[in-house]
Amino acid sequence: MKWRFYINTNFLAATALYSTPVILLHLLHLPALESFRKRWMASYPWSQDIVYGLMLCALVINRGSSSEFIYFQF
């Protein structure tokens, strides 16, 4: 297909992967999911620790070079 010559799908896939935690975090805070999130957190409080642990791990092993700095604000 011609569009493949113009769009680097590898970059798009990588960007989508990098953005996944941010998208999921925002999805979980949607009003429609708020009560589900609260119930889930009350039943499985350690699940938050797993998510934070995984995200920390992802940050460490997917790090950029020391001169690169990307600032995110939530």
Partner: protein, 314 residues
């Protein structure tokens, strides 16, 4: 971590009770478990190494792999994107291609100098990209504290970064969906040929004029600096081989490349240094007027391997 704790407390809509409380030790435990799981998967061979998503990452992966090269790889090739094209399989089992696209010889040389495990033979590309300075950032990232950790933990290597690995897996999946390569239609082939002819003509035009004085002075200064550094390696017992790579005929025939070679002949006389020049009786083809295409790169790599081996035994 502390910032997330305070933001949770400050948020007006935070949950009640201990549910939303941040437990650093628990997070640290899950972090270490995830790290150990990834390291285990790599060591078990379940994670295929990636080649990088972009040129810069590819360079970093290449440099990191050099520091972890197998014991027998004692022949290293330093250069620019021209050398990157040379397939390692044709350079021989002992060779490691430590050339970087967008960089020059000095970046690879700095890595070889700082690495404690020195190769037996150092092959250096002698082209006009010699004036490119060393990439401090790339070299520093290899030998800092992070580099020490990387020596022991494979999960800290760039080629095993989850995003790169997953992107490479997606790329492979996409290729598998596309199936075997379809034969190129005559129309497409004609377009490709016309584009290549245009690129070759442009390269010929670019290198037609003689080398200007300013650039000539810069190339000579770089060559003199390189000579001093290579002399140190030679004194330490390493074999240094200098080589020139061919490009398209119009570009090679231009005054520019001949002027550059004249400077190198003056700084590195053939009587004192091992030189490997591309055989003139062979035709070389490129993909863009400058970089060798796959068949030519394979032929040149095999020729370099033979020549370097012959020079080593002298």
């Amino acid at each position: 971590m502390s910032s997330s704790t305070s933001s949770s407390k400050d948020a007006p809509s935070s949950d009640n009770g201990n549910a939303n409380q941040v437990r650093p030790w628990s997070i640290l435990l899950f972090f270490l478990l995830a790290l150990a799981a990834w390291e285990g998967a790599i060591r078990a061979g379940l994670v295929p190494a990636s080649h990088g998503i972009h040129q810069r990452e590819d360079n970093l992966i290449r440099a990191e792999s050099y520091l972890k090269r197998p014991e027998g790889a004692d022949q290293v090739y330093l250069g620019s994107s021209l050398t990157v094209r040379l397939p390692t399989t044709d350079l021989g089992t002992r060779a490691f291609n430590l050339a970087f696209a967008g960089e020059g010889v000095f970046t690879g040389l700095a890595i070889v100098e700082r690495d404690l495990r020195k190769p037996r033979t150092i092959c250096v590309e002698m082209g006009h990209t010699l004036i490119r300075p060393e990439s401090d950032e790339l070299v520093a990232s290899l030998f800092g504290p992070e580099g020490v950790v990387r020596q022991y933990l494979s999960c800290m290597e760039r080629r095993y970064q989850p995003v790169s690995v997953l992107t490479a897996a997606y790329s492979r999946y996409r290729d598998s969906l596309a199936g075997p390569a379809k034969p190129v239609s005559p129309k497409t082939q004609a377009m490709r040929d016309a584009r290549l002819a245009k690129a070759v003509a442009a390269a010929g035009e670019r290198y037609k004029a003689p080398l200007d004085e300013k650039r000539g002075t810069a190339i000579k200064a770089a060559a003199l600096s390189l000579r001093e550094r290579l002399k140190i390696l030679r004194t330490a017992g390493n074999c240094v081989v200098l080589y020139r790579l061919p490009s398209s005929e119009p570009a090679d025939a231009g005054h520019f490349h001949q002027d550059v070679q004249r400077i190198y002949d003056e700084v590195f006389p053939q009587a004192e240094w091992f030189w490997v020049m591309p055989p003139k009786d062979q035709a070389w083809t490129t993909s863009d007027g400058e970089h060798l295409d796959e068949p030519s790169a394979k032929r040149m790599a095999a020729f370099l391997q033979e020549s370097a081996q012959a020079l080593e035994s002298r």
